[in-house]
Point group: C2
Chain length 319, copies 2
DNA sequence: ATAAATGTTGAGTATTTGCTCACACACGGG
DNA sequence: CCCGTGTGTGAGCAAATACTCAACATTTAT
């Protein structure tokens, strides 16, 4: 007489059945056990087996599901600690929509902590949009320090410096940098950085617990140039030297390596805090920034990224 | 300035995120809580929301998954309490493969119970195959009662009567019916049923806790005819009267209604136990039996069904 | 403007689940 | 035939999860 089919396939069948009863039918493992005439533990093992054997597939039917999938791939691909991928709005070419809100949420998450932290903030349109999304809070125990100078070339306050807005909204102690973004000479930068107050601010920035920076591109519409921090000639020189992006004014090439000389000799911003000791989050989206983001990630300059779906896809596709 | 997007979509987003972290990334709810900066309870609610909102879809990548899906549809469609759908072997046209094993499993499940039960058993090829799959056990506390006579027209033991095989294998107390399947006349049936021993057996069958019956077709190869219980002429008459299937010899039409007169006046089998008080499981598969199964289910003659994938599909497709 | 209705939250608690361990049983080699 | 070896099993326990409740916030209706 035909013997029972071999037990291994039987076991997988049982596992499938148990998994189905558990995940699809919503049975408890004890119910499954009694239905299958086995002990609860065995039911548990079967359910667990159905998962480990890959019989059970869960998927998330929500736009955000895709985002989180991309996020987790970026995370492992670039050894990141924090990745937020927000849904892309196909009908918008804004470079802040979504990421601004997400960044605000992430900033608030840090500011909600009861223990005092030091948060460093870069500059740029994206960060400004993010800070505008912040909910007013009361965080006198936190310190917010700017990584970049807040003086525009014409002597006015740099429009995209966000430290004041931020400090206002969240009532934290703020540490702006009363400096130009790019000094007129390397010598001037040394002098400025030698001032005790600036030194203290720079030191504070260096020990930030968390840092948020934007990434600028060095294309024809480079923000550094559009905002008047660098001249047409300086932009061209940077491009010729291979610069494809900048963070807080520090230009880097396609490998994420800082350009030697040129404007980098005069950038008055604090150096980007080390990702070794803290969370350094880059916020950037859009095709124009793609090569810059790629370079930053490859070079491991940051360990956090907030971007959108489309950009995330681009990053992963570019190998 | 644009306000935060309305909270309902935000909430669903969070739910999706939580659901993703929970089901896809395998985080614990406490981890999710800390990552999202909310309380553990809120994380639990979000996860639960993601499920109840249908954001999370689980599916089973195993042949049996389809079976259980079919089973659950049959269950609700025909108000059944037990449905087993086994995978179909496309390369086999056996009418017992799979269902035999499944039936054996189900029978064993009942026999494993420590409290004494009464199990009624019909007859037929399918049940015979099922009983042959039974694992030897020791169940002296249970009673197994046959629903049909075990005497073939030529006076020999009916081949497909399974009560003896079964009792042997599981060591249960057995109650066969020393009767022909179909008496020679209505009057003879009355006399036979009036015998005290038969009456007791019939009474026992009527109070069975669980019943397993096969379904026979009334086509050209009707088992009743092939096995010699009815003549060619009787088969034709039944067909003309609209019979399309039989259980334990009781013929019924496409609505599941018993044929009046003809062989049904002489069927010596016990009446099929009522599904009101017990589990009555029909075991049947194959296209030939499809109309019969359909009729039985529509008429609610049984509250259990063991069949295969293909047949289950057929049943659901036929309206 | 007030009250009712609705929804959200955290705390506490009961239930459910995952894990470890010791043991039993079958299989295959010496 | 006996003895590893390895697989499966159940008990017990720790962790994780689901549920209930009361308080509070927010919206809606009068």
């Amino acid at each position: 007489m035909a013997q029972r089919m071999d037990s291994s396939s039987n076991r997988l069948d049982d596992a499938a059945r148990a998994g189905w009863l558990y995940y699809v039918a919503g049975n408890t493992q004890e119910e499954i056990a009694s239905k299958l005439g086995i002990s609860r533990q065995s039911a548990q093992r079967l359910v667990s087996l159905s998962v480990s054997e890959g019989l059970i597939k869960v998927r998330l039917d929500h736009p955000i599901g895709r985002c989180m999938d991309l996020a987790s791939r970026l995370k492992s691909r670039f050894a990141l600690d924090l990745v937020e991928v927000v849904p892309s709005d196909p009908s918008s070419d804004s470079t802040t929509i979504g990421v601004a809100e997400a960044t605000a949420t992430e900033i608030e998450r840090w500011l909600k902590r009861p223990d005092p932290i030091v948060m460093a903030i870069g500059t740029g349109r994206t960060l400004k949009a993010a800070v505008e999304q912040l909910t007013p809070m009361d965080c006198p125990h936190h310190k917010v320090v700017s990584l970049t100078g807040n003086i525009a070339p014409d002597g006015s306050a740099a429009y995209y410096n966000v430290i004041f807005n931020m400090a206002d909204t969240v009532k934290a102690r703020s540490f702006p940098m009363p400096l130009p973004v790019i000094a007129s000479s390397a010598r001037e930068r040394e002098l400025l950085h030698a001032q005790p107050m600036i030194r203290r601010t720079l030191a504070l920035a260096a020990q930030a617990d968390v840092t948020f920076v934007g990434i600028g591109d060095i294309g024809p519409d480079a923000p550094l140039h559009v905002d008047g921090f660098i001249t047409d000639a300086e932009l061209k020189e940077l491009q010729k030297a291979g610069a494809i992006g900048e963070i807080c004014g520090w230009s880097f090439d396609a490998d994420g390596k800082l350009i030697e000389g040129l404007t980098n000799d005069r950038v008055a911003s604090a150096t980007i805090p080390s990702r070794e000791h803290a969370l350094v989050v880059a916020i950037a989206m859009g095709n124009r920034k793609l090569p810059g983001i790629k370079a930053v990630l490859n070079r491991r300059l940051v360990n956090g990224l907030i971007t959108d779906e489309r950009t995330a896809e681009g990053l992963l596709k570019l190998l």
